[in-house]
Symmetry: C2
DNA sequence: GCCCCTTATGGTAGCGCTACCATTATCTTA
DNA sequence: TAAGATAATGGTAGCGCTACCATAAGGGGC
């Protein structure tokens, strides 16, 4: 550009009346993007591009930058990033009175991921889905990029509608009845229930009791359907007496177990839709002088801490809640980033694999105790 | 490069030498400190002073500023704050395999407070205190202002020494044996145990069993001491058979309960040092055909989710874990702020009040000692 | 050859706040 | 009363990064 301009600038840069030069305010000498740029012999801008995975960078340059980053052990300053980026990623975590073991996993997953991508987590408990609405409004005042909704909130249409109205995206953790989330992470509850039921059948059981979860939650239906499907596939007749309603709580499991165990021809195995209810089944069995698993097999679902706390430890289906929440946080980040550029309503979905965890609460039916039944 | 090009540009835009004026990058029109300053008719600097509670601001001015903040519904931009402040508050949360119910409360407390003061939480699990050391080193690479240490980490001198070496402060959540933390939050475990024991005595029990917690943790000692003190104060003889060792786990509670319940003259009440062990006592009692609380009173400690999950619900001591962790986060913030200015090694301590929660697992001893058998 | 278009890169101006100094009014104290 | 100390406030330059534009360097298509 014009040399004249430069000359002028130079003359003013003698600082006739401005403040005296100050020392840099940087206290800890953490490398900045400029240091990397110098090392990689390019501009800070190019470094920024590499870091953010943008296109339009020559492969050669990219590698140089990555090398420099490695060498300097550089990590970008989160504060500067979100300040310059103009947008702060705030994520609302809402939950409706879940079990402690669920919650701790849920929070850990969110926390780990949020820490990585520098998102702010706003945690809110609400007793009912209706109570969630004002909380969401309040959170939204400060600007919220998205909400993470575990069941039963993701089964509630009003909650989702409000999220949309507030311009936030909603990610369901677990299956949801309500339509219109911008994404969801879940395991295949149906297949998992099929597998577990098949496992129990494989042990030789034929009278298998089932305790259904909370009726409002879609996961309950799916798990039940899995049980039915596996029974049918094994050619076993389904005795409706053996299928009882629960509500995912320990208390409800107690009642359901009482019902199943007092049946004239009681089941030799019980598959509960979650671990809390399975624990309740074991407690009830013990109170009725039944040994687990000798007299009765008990299996759970979720693999919460409960499953490995109680004795005997539960055979259950592991649902990787931590990974699921982490994924949800990442999804919100992706979505709100993409929103800034293109406005297409992408929907992110992920089915995370589950695992069948075999522990000590299952066994083949004992010949002596078990009422013999038709093959 | 050419002046030609520039000349052209000059003709198209009024700006002679600089780039053309850009639109502000601010997307959401959240009020900034400058807006507040304008409204309060002072400089942004003064507003900053008011916000940060610094001195040297006239009361009159302060009020004007606060009014303006209120009117504009201003809230400071966290990113800008930590960028300009030069220091990022990073807090390491370490825990050693705690129960899920403890953890969820622990995390919630930390999360809520951290969100308020814009601290970054780094969560790490470690199986043993020794395993914590490398994790701490690693966390420290990115710069850590402080660590929050629940038991048993706060009982480990090596952990504390390392924290000091890394230039981070350490806050114990719960009593710790190791010396040298920069602060601690806890309840008065001794007094709480005294109260609970006195409560049980007040119901009419005289043979009261006690299950000790993990021996390495100071809380265990304190609770035991409380039990002894209350027994002594009531003039009750302490039968050493009635005091058995546990390790805070459900499993250890099972063994301890078995021991206590198979005593020739078994206790009419058992006070376990935490809820998990108390739950194990109840399970064992049930397996031995004893009703709770009719045949035996069982009390716990901590009031974790377990306490109100099981049946009957536990009478226990509520330890407000959430508040405690929140306090710890705030303490780290205070300390590292004060460190920047004066370097005095302030130690922050807080004793948070506990509550005795009476639920359904306690009752007066039944008059006939053992014979009551159920059908 | 010219023009345009794409791709790779650089320069600069903020993002909103606070540290640091400068400045002015308000007292003290020699 | 002048000189200094103190209190209250203002101005400015970053903090480290990214958005936005500008520029330069390579292709085709006419």
């Amino acid at each position: 550009m014009g040399s004249a301009v430069y000359a002028m600038q130079m003359s003013t840069s003698v600082q006739p009346k401005t403040h005296k030069r100050r020392a840099s305010r940087r206290s800890n000498a953490a490398p900045t993007i400029a240091d990397v740029a110098r090392a990689a012999q390019c501009s800070p801008m190019t470094v920024s591009r590499v870091i953010n995975g943008e296109g339009n960078v020559r492969e050669e340059t990219r590698i140089q930058v990555l090398d420099a980053i490695e060498k300097l052990n550089y990590s970008p300053n989160r504060a500067a990033r979100s300040l310059a980026g103009g947008e702060q990623l705030r994520i609302g975590l809402l939950f409706d009175n879940p079990s402690a073991s669920y919650l701790s996993e849920f929070l850990r997953g969110a926390l780990e991921e949020a820490s990585k991508i520098d998102a702010h987590l706003e945690v809110q408990t609400c007793e009912t889905p209706e109570a969630a609405l004002p909380l969401m409004r309040k959170l939204s005042e400060g600007g919220i990029s998205g909400f993470i909704l575990p069941p039963p909130l993701c089964d509630d249409q009003d909650v989702l509608d409000l999220a949309k109205e507030l311009g936030a995206c909603a990610i369901a953790v677990g299956p949801g009845k309500a339509m219109g989330t911008q994404g969801s992470v879940m395991i295949d509850d149906f297949e998992a229930a099929v597998d577990m039921t098949a496992h129990i059948i494989g042990l030789g059981h034929t009278r298998i009791g089932f305790i259904i979860g909370k009726p409002e939650q879609l996961a309950s239906e799916r798990r039940l359907a899995g049980y039915y499907a596996a029974m049918k596939q094994a050619g076993l007749e389904i005795d409706e007496e053996l299928v009882v309603q629960g509500r995912f709580t320990y208390r409800s499991g107690l009642a359901a177990a009482e019902k199943l165990l007092s049946l004239p021809e009681r089941p030799t195995a019980i598959f509960a839709s979650n671990d809390d209810m399975a624990a309740a089944v074991i407690a009830t069995a013990h109170r009725n002088h039944l040994d687990v698993p000798t007299d009765i097999t008990v299996c759970g679902f979720d693999d919460t801490a409960m499953a490995s706390t109680i004795w005997p430890e539960l055979t259950t289906v592991r649902q990787p809640i931590r990974e699921m929440t982490a994924w949800a946080v990442a999804a919100i980040a992706r979505i709100s980033r993409s929103r800034r550029t293109d406005d297409k309503g992408t929907v992110e979905k992920s089915i995370i694999p589950y695992t069948l965890i075999r522990r000590d609460s299952d066994a083949a039916p004992s010949l002596a105790r078990s009422p013999r039944t038709e093959p």
